[in-house]
């Protein structure tokens, strides 16, 4: 049984009468990777700042492992590792000094720091830049260093605000791999992103926010299934059995918009829209097989997160 590590309950925040966050509620289970997505100005950063004890909410409550972020902020801060959407650094500080400084800020004894910093630099693949000035690192490296900083006190939860913004494709892939590794280490990760492909690939759960309101929240697969009103199905038939297939499909009321074409190998490719659920899909396959249709392939097009996002949001900014 999974337990909810982060619970956001009816959270609201207004700035000068404008609702940046408007009564949102969701929870994140221990060990989940939660993708927090929404357009610019939707309220993602505001929510994250409240969760990380950096901003007072106007209403509602946020608890981390049962502790209220306003009442027990010191304990909450020890459980959180935060990577903001900017990389703040000190001038004239090397990578090692940067981590040593934050280790000191978490009261890690000086004797334990060298081994810890070496481990973290290895984890984020920055060992070779140990003595280089932070300002000389690339954006991807700085982002990884920021992650190492957030991990210095071994927090249970990682909160990352737009961690992949501005990274090149290779750095994004490396960063994704790093987050997956952290999940296997038992960390619970909340990250906001504009790059839906990253969220799609990484996240177990998502929350979609628009104009300060949650428009969808939950397990990514369950949301996909819930949102999928019609699915597109692709069939390939061996040889010249098109008529048998069309006849079998004509009995299924959920099938519409059937198109077909013969491929270079002489087999037939069919494409149609299907409005049934997964039980209906299974029955359709059984019907085709029973009708003696020689199926070479049966494939269903998965709805991308981008399509879901576009379907759920209207582009409203609070």
């Amino acid at each position: 049984m999974t337990t909810d590590l982060i619970v956001i309950d009816n959270l609201s925040k207004s700035f000068d009468g404008r609702n940046a966050v408007d009564g949102i509620s969701f929870s994140i289970a221990a060990g989940a990777i939660f993708g927090f997505i929404g357009p610019n100005g939707a309220g993602k950063t505001t929510t994250i700042r409240i969760l990380t004890t950096l901003l007072q909410p106007t209403g509602g409550a946020v608890t981390v492992d049962g502790r209220n972020v306003l009442i027990d902020k010191e304990a909450v801060r020890r459980q959180l590792g935060y990577v903001p959407d900017f990389f703040g650094t000190y001038n004239d500080m090397t990578t090692w000094e940067y981590l040593d400084f934050f280790a000191g800020c978490y009261h890690i004894p000086p004797a334990n720091r060298p081994a810890l910093i070496t481990d973290l630099l290895t984890l984020v693949d920055l060992t070779h830049r140990r003595d280089d000035y932070v300002n000389s690192l690339s954006r991807g490296m700085k982002q990884r260093l920021g992650l190492a900083r957030a991990l210095i006190h071994d927090p249970q939860i990682l909160v990352l605000d737009e961690p992949a913004a501005g990274l090149d494709p290779r750095a994004r892939v490396e960063f994704r791999a790093l987050l997956q590794e952290l999940q296997t280490m038992g960390k619970t990760i909340l990250f906001s992103s504009h790059i839906l492909a990253d969220v799609d690939e990484l996240c177990t759960d998502v929350g979609i926010i628009e104009a300060g309101k949650m428009v969808a929240v939950g397990n990514l697969q369950a949301l996909r299934a819930e949102l999928r009103a019609t699915r597109t199905i692709y069939l390939t038939l061996l040889g010249n059995q098109l008529n048998a297939a069309l006849a079998a499909l004509s009995y299924a009321p959920q099938v519409t918009d059937v198109t077909h074409s013969q491929n270079a190998e002489g087999d037939w490719d069919l494409q149609f829209a299907f409005s049934g659920d997964k039980v209906a899909v299974s029955a359709l396959i059984a019907r085709l097989v029973a009708a003696g249709v020689p199926l070479l392939s049966f494939r269903e097009e998965a709805q991308s997160l981008e399509e879901m996002f576009m379907q759920l949001t209207e582009g409203i900014v609070s």
Binding site: Y82, G88, T89, N91, Y106
Partner: protein
Amino acid sequence: MIKDVPAVWRNNPVVVNELRSRMRGRRTFLLLTAHLVLLSILVFIIYITVYQETQISNAYYYSGSFQRALEASSTLGKAIFYGTVTLLLFVVTLIGPAFTAGAIVSEKERQTYDLLVITALSPKAIIGGKLSAILVFMGLLVLATLPFQSMAFFLGGVAFTEIILSVGLLLLTALLFCSLGLYVSTFARSVTIANMINYAFVIPMLLGVPFMAFLTGILSSGFFFERFFNGLPYLPAAAITYGILFFLSINPLSMAVTSEIFIQETGSYFFSVEKFFDFNIPIVAPWLIFTVFSLVMSAIFIRAAVRRVERVPHK
């Protein structure tokens, strides 16, 4: 609060970080060099000027060469001491706030403030660390001038206690102005604004109080003052005396001047009974008042700064 001081110092990463970043690079080296060069030039000018003057006046008043040399040396020592302390007072009061102005607001500008405050470091440790690092540097500026003060001591005319007292008071002045700067830094929106607010306080205080003292001096010696305050009962007389004394004591420059006058005139470092408005009124040395005032005000500024860092903002 006092019992937290060791904890603030012990392994405080803010102190290490601040000192490391301040001492790394050429800026500090150049500043310290400029400070000492300026002081050397001042001492050289004082030496040349006062030496020539003492040669002329002593030749007129004294015939014995030893007596003349002794008097000239003592005058030189005093002049160098007053000159260096006055310059240091300006340096401490003007540079201190400039250094502290950026302490917190620059963390916000370079976007490290959030990262710092969500660590396990307490607001006391953050503020204490920032202040300590700046005071260490101000202490370095003051201590670097000790050779000049020693020169004044060896030339005579200045007691060792006066030198120790001056160093202590300079450090207290640094504490007061740095605490003010640190507090301003917690609410200012930028380093420039923090500097503007700081100097809006510092310059009137630094120059305004001596100006008012000068004005009071003119009035007190004239007909106007005598006519108004002649025949005043004891309590109002004492109140006016303490008021003026307090007013003169809270400003580092007027405190330094009045403290020196107090020590020279009464022969005491702490306490005396002097005649004001025809009454013998007990008074304490201005530097003592300044010590209490600066400690209390610094504690208020530091506490206010800690509270601002503690607070979770609404915006």
